[in-house]
Symmetry: C2
Subunit: 214 residues, 2 copies
């Protein structure tokens, strides 16, 4: 056997994989934090080793996309008009915790101490990126306040430049309405994202929260 | 505001997420190397931020499960009776590279130097775990050899205990048939999985391969 017959220059990469599998790998790669190697392993596992899970996952994806919408009051994710927190009679609707995104609600609920309700902004003010007051759910927050019965707004935004700027801007709007705004204590690590904060730190940040804007 | 009204003991964990989203998170968590946090991020991204990708992924999963089968000759993944390597007229079918699993074919093709064909065992001999010669595609390999025209078998199995044991066992079966068996040079890191070997090491292991069993 001559080695030159067997070894040759590069020709294919992943083109030996069936087209349907390649498409699956490309789509997995498009997910956040999923590289090509992980995507290949996931796709291979589902197609070759666990077809039951693959079909079940396909079904779940369709159903979730079809059913999940935003809560009409707080803009958290929900299958009903109102989310479980807004529907619950045991939550104190006079205290609204304002967060950037739905995952932040889960992070706070995981601590299990907050008994008020939420308001999900779906973003932070970022003038440089062209995100203004009308691009996030600020008007809807002010409407909730104008309906009355709100005693405190907790601004639970990340300890980032945009988080701080949004907190100050909201605090000034709330101050005009005579509403007390607090923000989380700087027990949170500087520059940290709320979603990744551990439970103890998050709990301390809640109890040490301070009045802002006034 | 009394803090005791707002802060309370643990009640929910992730139960505020819609049921369909929770199911999606559970299924993502069932994938290899995907923890609950990653699963939550993936599910949230697909349902709340990229529904187009979610629906497309659901479709791709179904199609891949429906279309992908094993090549009837080498047992690699294929949408046709024969995979692209087995169908190709430019590959040298007298040299068969034996691998444990389909991902290993991709790893070798990525190097781009091997011009022979493959045989995917779909496992390694592991008597302790009850995996014997009839549980992996050994008989099918011997049948291919008995059809004639095979000059060399390259045993490209991982440098693990099970990989080595399987190589020796196959080499002995091949030696009885007068077939030259080689295995990859121990340029591969000891204990390493083939799938994760870098291209240079894998290329060196190919060129430094040595005759086994005789």
């Amino acid at each position: 056997m001559s080695r030159s017959l067997v070894f040759h220059t590069k020709i294919f990469q992943m083109s030996q994989f069936p087209a349907s599998l390649q498409r699956l790998i490309r789509e997995f790669s498009a997910l956040p934090s999923v590289g090509e190697k992980s995507a290949t392993r996931l796709a291979y596992h589902l197609v070759a080793q666990n077809q039951q899970l693959a079909l079940s996952l396909a079904q779940s994806l369709r159903e979730a996309v079809e059913r999940v919408r935003l809560c009409s009051r707080c803009f958290f994710l929900s299958e009903e008009d109102l989310c479980p927190v807004c529907r619950s009679s045991s939550r104190d609707s006079s205290v609204i915790c304002v967060v950037e995104k739905p995952m932040d609600v889960i992070a706070i609920e995981r601590v299990g101490e907050f008994r008020g309700v939420y308001h999900v902004l779906h973003g932070l003010l970022a003038p440089r990126r062209g995100v203004g007051i009308d691009d996030i759910r600020v008007r809807e927050l002010l409407s909730r306040i104008d309906e009355g019965g709100v005693g405190e707004i907790i601004l639970a935004l990340g300890a980032t430049v945009e988080g701080d700027a949004t907190s100050y801007h909201l605090a000034s709007l709330l101050s005009q309405r005579g509403i007390k705004a607090t923000r989380l204590a700087q027990g949170m690590p500087k520059g940290g994202e709320l979603e990744y904060t551990d439970e103890v730190t998050l709990s301390r940040a809640f109890s040490g929260r301070s009045i802002i804007g006034k």
